[in-house]
């Protein structure tokens, strides 16, 4: 039986504690999209090396093997930590999370399409909700707050168009 989620303020403070420890111990914040960029660059280089020649991909490729990038290891930690927590709380379950009545296939297509947009957005913004909104936000970066504001404006502007997806 799945146990209820934690109090959001306490969970948020715990997350803030992890972020603060990361600042103090490494001098940098958390991230997620950077790991996709490292892995993606390596994948492209393996499949179509000529396409991976521009300076953006080269920046990631020359930093060393993708599996030894700090953010890749951190994101593997995220997956491990989340899996253990989901298991301990009885929430580990193979399923497609979707509103009642929605077909799994539509939900997966929407999730994938949203992922593509987030990939493009996080490359443009040099980070995502982790590296920009959370980490840059806590250090009061003007660009990070611009990103965060744009994400919320766009999220609220898009949602009314998605009534069939999220009733």
């Amino acid at each position: 039986m799945a146990r209820p989620y934690a109090n959001p303020y306490l969970a948020g403070m715990a997350l803030g504690g992890v972020l603060l420890s990361c600042f103090v111990l490494t001098g940098q914040g958390l991230g997620a999209s950077g790991a996709f960029a490292s892995a993606g660059s390596a994948l492209l280089h393996a499949v179509a090396p000529r396409q991976a020649g521009n300076t953006w991909f080269q920046g990631y490729l020359q930093a060393g093997p993708w599996w030894s990038a700090w953010l890749v290891i951190e994101l593997l930690g995220v997956i491990a930590g989340a899996a253990v927590s989901a298991w301990l709380h009885g929430r580990l379950r193979l399923a497609v999370e979707r509103p009642a009545g929605m077909r799994a296939r539509s939900r997966l297509a929407a999730a994938g399409a949203g992922g593509i947009l987030m990939g493009i957005g996080s490359v443009l913004a040099c980070g995502c909700t982790s590296g920009q909104a959370l980490s840059g936000g806590a250090l009061l970066s003007a660009g990070s707050w611009t990103f965060m504001l744009a994400v919320f404006i766009s999220g609220y502007a898009t949602m009314p168009l998605l009534r069939r997806l999220w009733p």
Partner: protein
């Protein structure tokens, strides 16, 4: 002390990050989508509790001389790229009900929509990476380097810290009131 290249530390920090997100319920796309359908403000509450905790923590550690706030890496500001990037990202966030980090939390909990979002993310990163030479001009508009809100508004750092804390508390109060409305 600097462990910026320590991979075991990266793993430990990641585990804490993933566990905190999962416990908050942020591996559940329906819960995240609630932020934008105005039914569930968990995203706002978790995100701003985390931002305020880390912001106050780093500010006071710096003030008490226990850490060098100036040595913390502040992401560079590219106003146009980050504004456009945020608009594109926000649409994707609403569509998938997940963000890059939480898509990994969802897939770690066995949710296939998390896997789909993460797969899409990889594709989107590659598409944008391929287009990068054509996008270079976007980064030249509003490129301020390391640029903070206190610098932008000409206010002391501590004042902005206090204002952000008040903003967060105000939003929490509104969210609680909204969720309890009849």
């Amino acid at each position: 002390m600097n462990f910026s290249n320590s991979l075991p530390l990266a793993l430990v920090i990641g585990i804490g990050f993933g566990a905190a997100l999962e416990m908050a319920g942020l591996g559940n796309a329906c819960k995240l989508a609630g932020q934008f359908t105005l039914r569930d403000f968990t995203v706002l509450k978790v995100m701003f509790s985390a931002i305020v905790t880390a912001m106050l923590g780093s500010f006071w550690l710096g003030r008490l001389g226990l850490a060098d706030l100036g040595a913390f890496y502040v992401p560079d500001t590219f106003l146009l790229a980050q504004g456009i990037g945020g608009l594109v990202f926000g649409a994707g966030f609403a569509l998938s009900g997940l963000c890059p980090g939480t898509s990994c939390v969802a897939l770690a909990s066995g949710r296939l929509d998390g896997l789909a979002a993460a797969g899409g993310m990889l594709g989107g990163v590659l598409l944008a990476g391929l287009a990068m030479p054509a996008l270079a001009a976007v980064y030249r508009t509003g490129a301020f380097g390391s640029y903070t809100l206190p610098e932008a508004f000409g206010l002391p750092y501590g004042v902005v810290v206090a204002l952000v804390t008040l903003l967060a508390l105000g939003m929490f109060a509104l969210a609680e009131q909204w969720e309890r409305r009849p």
